[in-house]
Symmetry: C2
Subunit: 601 residues, 2 copies
């Protein structure tokens, strides 16, 4: 272990460019120009600010400079290691990842991957081998990540290398500053432990754990709820309970019993084979805050009520947002009769789980908005925006309204060799035109005042298509979302009008059956500003973005002001997937931001 | 039965417009304007010419006039029948179709169909109830046709009504002229009888017969070959034999033994659940000609050799054109080892069918081009062109060259709600662009000197697509055809270049794997002219069109001059389908055209 004196932000802020660069030597591999340029951004208000400034320098560098930075890194467990070319930091990291203890097979596989990767991209593979939790990735995880990234697009892979370099730099800076993201680590540990409650079967993931599936009111779901209650008690919540729909509710009292509470939380159910942060992060972050307050013996004026919603994803029963609907009075009595694939109704499932299944008990869960300040929710972004901008946090401007359609085009199936181009009624070409129009139309809203729209044709299929048959049928779906209902409706209208015209022009029948329509839920401006202030206090830009996915906040929006905070997801923001990931540092920033928000209530 | 004096063409040609119109009264229901206008096209060289001129008048009429013609017809077995509004002709036809003997259920179903049809199109359903053979359709066939056409596009259905009106008029004219298409009827009877040899299982068709499947060297295929030999002997062929690959070969000697023969024929195997005219018509038409010569005791100078090819469709074994390849010397020895799904090789199948399976015997089938004038082939068009133009016959300018590709686009699958439009790599949109480019590019060749190209994306699929996931993968196929190899290759080049550019622009990987490449086979100009002359002699325009599908003539093209004659297919030219159909009159015109060609050798 190398002994390096701990750095302080004040020292750095006061340093000359030369000293500054020297103090940050080794943070970015053989690339002093990054620290040199970042020096101009002093004074740094936080370590997060410094990290962001360094990443900004790389973002603003030329592609050649970025490639030089990448090429300054040794090959992973490669010849460089043998030749002793590793920096002290690199050696330390590769040791922690166990890469110096590869089996002969693993070493051969890594050598092959290095060769393939170099042949494809012309630069060495960069991976922050200490991983998102900072504890080191397993060799299996490293090899799988390597193989996966070998298939990426060139520009995407270059960006991913740079992001890994920033993560390496972040861990090195934490080491230099002697900083440990304790609460961030705890959140990742909670996430891992809660993921052990799973109905998921099949091959274990790269981390050796089974896939994560947790659907409403299964035995595993109940044991997860029990686990959450135990943790809440340990954190210091004053009241912890399981409510009539299976929500876990923890209350940390305020000093003023008559003061309204802050409501927060997110869901603990998952999609099938999902990620371990989706929903759960929004439970763990306020849990960590309450723990900090409790451990410090502090009470804020306002109480904090954290709800771990039992159901949001609509996986087991044909209904969604069961947990948050109960709080808004939107849980419909007829939902109790909805059945899962095995024919078990929600009521039966509730009773089997020890809940009453009585509508009266569910109706009693409705919250009186007068008793609450509002609702805030922390959530993993589930998209690529923050990740691509090297931003740990983003303030949500609102949840997009959406409209979905199941579509079908019917033309005339005919012989691809014998039917002249002028006599065709090709169903697939009609849909191809429509899909491109959807893209074009959504892009027109890129600079819309309320924020951009998105539009997607996700299902596209010529049923029983054949190489030599002109498509007579084509099935497809439309998914259109925008930050306001008006903006969404304008897009829907244009898309439908175009569908009508393309159908007429091509002599095909185009049907669009509405399957979903959800209202937009713009963030309450005052609460959005509170999140922005909290992020700014961390020394980070208060970047604002819309939420393309639906969240529990969308439901609470119906009865009280709400606003969300997003945290960046790694792996290009993938979600609903085992590759979903966040770092311990980002989780820590969430806790810090939430604390700032609490302090200002 | 009404007694009407038989009409003669000379009488008609000499008549005043008024008399002409009177003589044709009742041919087109309550629409004397059609005959009035057709009168200007005298003199008519044939009944076919008259029919064509009448159809041309309707083609050139306004849409309102066409609709008035359609609306001049009574509803099928509807209220009109009850109210006694049928013309003498209509009553006669509906009687023949048995529509006056409907069950209560059938009558109720017809009434419902009439109501639905009227509500949809606003005109009565028109069907030539005497059908393609002139013998009358069954009530089941009528009801099924009704239900099928109810789903058609409006313009397509209007055109189909007019075509049925022309068919009704054709049958009425035949009655007026006392003309019976004997050889056309015989060809339809041969087609029905040969279709009784089938491996097809499953529900019987609308005509009460099992589906037609006849693949190489099955027991049913062998019994069909035996049937063909019997018929050829009955027709008067001098030599009839089964050759080493299962082709049935009939030779009708010429008067000059040293004169080269005319080679003709087509295949008698079928696709699975295919049509009864595909291939077979090209055997039956020259059989009917030989029968006519034999019955008249006539010999032409040149011998006629009719080959019923045993295999063309490539259904049982992974090879095609086995029958015609043997004649060109293109049958490869290794094909004998190719196996069907049950593991039986071609050699084993040959031996089981009583053939030697010896390559030497197959090689001996190769024809010496010096002994032949050339090869001609009659075939159902298998496309919509002739049908849409109201033309019974078409002269083939050549068989298109083709190129096929299996394609895949790989982008990045991501959340449809959370991924901004600017950060997507949508695999399906890349393919959508490519599919539309293929269409645009093929259309550029509409007026190409050698004839138009066609291009099709037949398979198009986002595997495991989901409404809220941006497509990360898209599977598709390309099928590109053109009358010359150079024209095809230019199209292929443009399509590949576009694929490359769209892939780059969208950041997706687009792969195109070639799966088939077949050379174009332009018709021999002199033989094409002989077909054109033969068609003209019937009083019909010698309309020329390319063949988009492959045919045995494509193989014979390798060793001798060839040209094909197409006959129109009903039901929009559908083929490889039980709905494939031709009329007895069109079959008769084929025989007459073939005879004209024979007379001019």
């Amino acid at each position: 272990m190398l002994l390096i004196p701990t750095l302080h932000l004040d020292t750095l802020n006061a340093a000359s460019q030369h000293d500054f660069t020297t103090m940050l030597d080794g943070v970015y591999e053989h690339s002093p120009w990054i620290a040199e340029r970042a020096w101009a951004s002093r004074p740094f208000r936080s370590l997060a600010h410094l990290k962001h400034a360094l990443a900004q320098v790389v973002r603003e560098a030329t592609v050649d400079e970025q490639l030089a930075l990448i090429r300054a890194h040794p090959e992973l467990a490669g010849k460089a290691a043998v030749a002793g070319e590793l920096t002290a930091e690199s050696t330390n990291e590769q040791l922690q990842a166990g890469l110096t203890h590869c089996s002969a097979d693993e070493f051969a596989r890594l050598q092959q991957l290095n060769a393939d990767y170099n042949a494809r991209f012309g630069w060495p593979f960069i991976l922050a081998v200490r991983g998102p939790a900072g504890r080191g990735l397993s060799r299996t995880e490293i090899i799988a990540t390597f193989a996966r990234r070998l298939l990426q697009q060139r520009d995407a892979e270059r960006a991913e290398c740079l992001r890994n370099i920033h993560r390496i730099a972040e861990i090195r800076l934490d080491d230099k500053f002697g900083v440990v993201p304790f609460e961030g680590n705890q959140i990742l540990e909670w996430a891992d432990a809660l993921a052990a409650h799973t109905e998921g079967t099949g091959d274990n993931g790269l981390d050796g754990r089974p896939p994560l599936t947790l659907t409403y009111l299964t035995p595993e779901h109940q044991s997860a709820a029990t686990q959450l209650q135990i943790w809440m008690r340990v954190c210091g919540f004053d009241e912890v309970s399981l409510d009539a729909v299976g929500n876990v509710v923890g209350v940390y009292h305020g000093s003023d019993p008559s003061a309204p509470r802050l409501l927060t939380g997110s869901h603990y159910d998952t999609v099938r084979n999902g990620g371990r942060h989706d929903g759960r992060l929004g439970i763990f972050v306020p849990m960590a805050c309450v723990q900090r307050l409790f451990q410090a013996g502090r009470r804020l004026r306002h109480g904090i009520e954290v709800v771990a919603f039992a159901e949001e994803e609509g996986q087991r029963f044909p209904a969604t947002f069961l947990g948050s609907s109960a709080l808004t009075g939107g849980f419909r009595p007829e939902w109790l009769e909805l059945c899962d694939a095995a024919g078990i109704s929600i009521r039966q499932a509730m009773q089997a789980a020890g809940l009453s299944g009585e509508m009266a008990d569910i109706a009693a869960l409705q919250r009186d908005p007068a008793h609450y300040l509002g609702f805030v929710e922390v959530h993993i972004e589930q998209g690529p925006v923050l990740n691509s901008l090297d931003l740990p946090l983003g303030v949500v401007s609102g949840i997009n309204g959406s409209a979905r359609y199941a579509g079908e085009a019917v033309g005339v199936a005919c012989h691809a060799g014998t039917t002249p181009m002028t006599m065709r009624h090709d169903a697939a070409l009609a849909v191809a035109e429509l899909a491109l129009l959807v893209e074009r139309r959504a892009r027109e809203d890129l600079t819309a005042p309320a924020g951009p729209s998105v539009g997607t044709v996700g299902i596209l299929e010529v049923p029983q298509g054949s190489v030599n048959v002109v498509p007579g049928r084509c099935r497809f779906t439309l998914d259109l979302r925008a930050p306001t209902d008006a903006q969404r409706d304008a897009m829907v209208e244009d898309v439908i009008a175009f569908a009508r015209s393309v159908a007429q022009r091509r002599g095909v029948t185009l049907t669009l059956k509405p399957t979903l329509r959800a209202a937009a839920a713009p963030s309450d401006p005052a609460w959005q500003q509170r999140w922005a202030d909290a992020v700014s206090q961390l020394g980070l830009p208060a970047f604002t973005l819309p939420s393309g996915a639906g969240h529990d906040a969308m439901k609470l929006h119906e009865c009280m002001p709400q606003a969300m905070l997003f945290v960046r997801g790694g792996n290009d923001g993938i979600s609903h997937n085992p590759l979903e990931t966040i770092t311990n540092n980002d989780a820590q920033l969430c806790v810090d931001a939430f604390m700032h928000l609490l302090e200002k209530l």
